[in-house]
Each structure stands twice: as structure tokens, then as C-alpha cells.
Amino acid sequence: MRLINRKPTRPARVALGALPFFLAILAYAIGSAIRRAENPADKLLPSFEAIAAAFSNMAFVADRRTGDYLLWVDTFASLERLAIGMAIAAFLALVLGLLIGVLPIGRALFSPFVSAFSLIPPITVLPILFIVLGLGEAAKIGLVVVGTAPLMIRALGQAILDIPREQIVKAETLGASTWQMTMRVILPQLWPHLIRAVRLGLVPAWIFLISAEAIASTEGLGYRIFLVRRYLAMDVIIPYVLWITLLAYAIDRALALLSKRLFGWAHLAGESL
């Protein structure tokens, strides 16, 4: 049988999926053991026990200076910025995406601007944001918005243009006005695309969030990593990186699930990641 037609059974799929994870952990364990055999105080590849201890320290022991549980404070601060930033970006994407996708006039008006804007490397806007908005929350949220909105706007505009023309014409023959068509034909089909756009946008969103936090912040996951970097505290950095990854993964899966739950019709044909 051709490889393209050979599908793994369910247990095999789980085992195959786990294999790269297992190999990565194994490679780390071996590397760490070798280094620590040479130098028991090695900081670069700390043992799993050391990582676990540092992580539980961050999560379950109150900070001596502030009395805060740092992991949760950092997590909450970062997720709040991410959520507000993505909410603003999603709103902009929806409104401008609709204007661009539905109305030829809106397309002529906004499409070149959005295309040009999306080519600005967002991180270069950060100093401007700091100067204009100050070093507070607004600049960090602003960076997340600048870094994600243009691509989400374009994704949604394109999703509308990809709706077969036949449907639009059909709606016209059923007596729909432009507004009604938007409400009953286009917008309902756009929701799953919005969720997909948010999932895509979250990738750069995390990058820009961590960058902004690294530069100017007093709490947050990105702030913490770059703070402890000065002490080569790999036992904190590694679990933080894994924690961020886990959060990102959980959010992505939750959104994928949400889309399947709410918009089952959009997931009837084909496989989706």
C-alpha cells in the first residue's frame, strides 16, 4: 500500500505523537547528566529535580520581598495583556475585514493602507508606543495589537472574498440588502475564520508580548525570564518557557474546540489542525 494511504491506528498515533517529546526529554536528560558529572553545580542544564524545585518555588512559595506568588502574578499579568490585545485586534479585524471584504468601496479605501501597515516590522513601533503611550500597560497591549491586527484583518477580508460569488448572488435574488447579507450570510460564516485568525495571531502576539515585557515591565512571564537571565537561572527560565508553551497550546486547543462546538457546520468536510 502507498505511504500516502497508510493511516496509523489510534494507539500508534498516540505513540508516534509522543515519540519526539520523549526523545527531546531524553536528549536533555543525557546532556544534563554529562554536564553535571563534570561539574555538580552546572547552571546551564539543571537536573529535573532542580527545575521542579525552582518551579514549585515560583508557584507555591510567596516571594519574600513582595509576598506574591510570582508565577501566578506573572501569568495573570501576561494573560491579561494578551487577552486585551487580542480582543482589540479581533474587533479591528472584524470591522475592517468586513469593510474590505464586503464593500468594493471599503476595499479601495482600506486595503492598500492595511497592506502597507502590515509591512511595518511591529517591534520598530515599540519605541514610538513607549514615547506616545508611556511605559505602562497601554504600550505593551498596543504592540500586541500592532503585531497581530494587520494580518488578522487581511485574513478575514480574504475569507470574505473566498465566499463563492454564487452565494452572494443567491442572497441578492432572495431579496437581501447589503446589510442583511452581511448579518445573515457573511458574518455567520466569518466567525470560524475569526477564531482561526485569532489562533494564527496568537503566535506573533506571544512574541511581541514577551518582547515588550522584557523591555519595560515590573511583572509578567517575559519580564521574569529576562530578569532571572542575569543570574543564569536556567532552572527558572526552562519551566517558564515550558509554562508559556503550555499556556499557548491550551489556548490554541480551547479555541479549536470552541470553533468545532459553536460552528459545527464549518468542520463537516476535511481535516483541520
Partner: protein, 260 residues
Amino acid sequence: MSFVTARQIAVSYGDALILERVSLEVQKGAFVTIVGASGCGKSTFLRILLGQEQPSSGHVEIDGHPMAPEPDPERGVVFQKYSVFPHLTVLQNLMLPFELEGSAFLGRVFGARKREARDKAQAMMETIGLAHAAKRFPAQLSGGMQQRLAIGQALLKRPKIMLLDEPFGALDPGTRKDMQALLLELWRETGMTVFMVTHDIQEAFELGTRLLVFDKVRHDPQYPNAYGATVTYDLPLDHGERKKTAAIEAALIQSQTDKA
């Protein structure tokens, strides 16, 4: 007086002339079938009648008035595919026209008006034989069921003109027979004027009261785009006298197989 009148329609895309000198007078209630080589401009002609596109020159009149320059409920349409809404169930697809009618802002109705819309949709579901599939989405229907839904939906606003672009092209022969019967029945019931493009010449002869053949009359081998297609045969079909047209039918089928 003719109901649909096309006068000297020409359509070109860039340099390519697709249709030229298409003139036509069609009586109310006619069932016009349209055949012609693939790519010769049949769908383009339907889009003109629909108002989805404007001709490069010439114009169309309906009932003596210039046609609206965009699609409207006067003219229903069934495409080969993609003409039902994938995010709505069968029932919702059929309720939509009434909901749009009843609510300019939300396009949704509630309470008694919703029940009324549902009853009308229900009646259409019975007519097209989809009552058992009310809660299914289009992606969960077979090709034949999807087309039945598309036809039913297109009829809800009682259009005076129905445009069908190879509506049964993707269906198996058995389903196609059923669909043809359904379409004829609905046509007789509503008295609408039908334009139907098909690549099945037999189908065109069986269903139509009038047959149009689109083809290029002039051809320049140097510039294949220089001339457009026009109506080369315009044949009234009398179903009692099928023998009269049998020779032409055979010739058309022959020329189609020659090209293939």
C-alpha cells in the same frame, strides 16, 4: 408582446469577445434550454440576464422595462454548485427569504412570524422531498439533495424568471430524471419563465419549449478571440411533434461527440 427581450447583446473580457449580436424575444412562461460548446459564453449570457454582469453593449428588457442592473427577487437562480448557504440547515436555508423579508435590520424574525416562516419553509421542504433532512447542513446532503434545496430556495420568492446553469450536470442519471420531473412540475405550477443551460442535448430537447444553440458563426484562426458566439439555432420545441426536430437533435449530438 415578448416578456424577456435581449437586444444586440455583446460581451467582451479585455480583448476577448465572448458574445456578439445576441438578440432574443422570449414569451412569458417559456422554458428555454440553452446548449453550446463549453466556454462559448452560456454562463455569461445567464449572468447578463441575472444582472450579475453588464453587457459591453446592448441591453435587456423585462416586461417592457429595462432590467435592474443587479440581481433581485424577480429572477431566481440555481448554479451548478455553491448556491445554498453552508452555515444554515435545510430548514434555515428555506426560512431565510421570509426572515429577510420580515426584518430589515436583523434579518431574523421571532414568535408568530417565525412560525409562519417555518410553515412556509416546511411546505417547500415537502415539495422538494427534503422534509426528512430538515436539520442537516448542505455538506451533509448528497449532490441531488443539495440541488433540490437550491431549486426550492430559489422558488420561495416566486421569481418570474428562473435561471439555471447546468443544475443537474453533476448528478447521476437516475437522480437527474427525478430532478427534471420536479423542475417541470414546478414550472407548470408557477408559470415562470425558465432559462436553463445544459450540456446534455437530450435534456435540452426533452425539457424545453424552445432551444437555443450558442456557437461562433465567424472564426478567425489567427485571432480566435476576434469573434464571439451568438445564437445559431433558435428552435421551437413541440413535444407532441418530437419527430420533427429529431434530425436536428441527432445532428447536434453528433457534432458534440465529434468535438469531444
